[in-house]
């Protein structure tokens, strides 16, 4: 059963992006998890996270679950620090 509200179909670009995924090399989920703590700290410090962890941003664009985990860790650190 799909309870998506049909009157609010997602936009063209969003559907295409989800179907086709990121364009270019990306990490897998295991590598993403291994780098997540370092990536978030670099991000919060403004220390070029994408230059230091290549392929991470593409994975976060392509993988909704890892992207949620990224946002959660970032938000938790922002709240605790």
């Amino acid at each position: 059963m799909n309870d998506r509200d049909k009157s609010k179909a997602p936009e063209r670009e969003a559907v295409l992006a989800r179907l086709l995924g990121p364009d270019g090399p990306e990490l897998g989920c295991e590598e993403c998890f291994a780098e997540l703590d370092r990536y978030v700290e670099l991000d919060l410090a403004g220390s070029d996270p994408d230059g230091n962890v290549p392929g991470m941003r593409a994975h976060l664009e392509g993988c909704p679950a890892c992207a949620e985990d990224f946002r959660s860790l970032k938000a938790l650190l922002e709240e605790t620090d």
Partner: protein, 228 residues
Amino acid sequence: MASATMTMPIETPAEDSAARGEDDSRRWLQRLGASGPRRDAAVVELHGLLLKAARFEIDRRRASLPHLRGDDLEDIAQQSADDALFAVLSKLGDFRGEARFTTWAYKFALLEASVKVRRRAWQGRETPLAEDAWAVLADTAGRTATARAEDTELFGALREEIEGSLTEHQREVLVAVTLNDVPIDVLAERLETTRGALYKTLHDARRRLRTALAGRGFRIEGIREEAP
């Protein structure tokens, strides 16, 4: 003549906090590697941090669990903290000191909690059928067709390639995760595999679709999701 204080290195605030982070991390590893009451106290303290992280995550996602009461949510938090504690203690050797120890530990608690919440939210729910996905494609194409005449063609080609160029497993994963919003952890549990293995399947399916569409003359480069 230089006084003792003037020869001390001047640290920027960032270096200062990084050094403090390294000290904290070293202290955690020493305490967790110790034995007796010193280690016991560290384990209790670590569990407290993991529980805080798990509650934080569950609080963020509680809208997806409207049917659960506070007790149920607290149970999920406790279970997540317990599982994360086990994971952290058994993976201490993997900690490379590239982030603070607490940041490294938090991610295990957040992962345990987010996976449990996603699975709980989908408990008893059927995985949507492919027809739901085609409706998403048709809706999207229909809504934009007046602005972009070629969209009907593009979305038609997409459906053809999804049905014709992918393996059954690739099609199932792609449709569920990208069109029907089934969380990848929920699908992984149902197919008895892992998030990583399913993502690899999704990745291969997407590559194949990109290649097929490009081969049919559609311009798809530059399409990308918003940064998270």
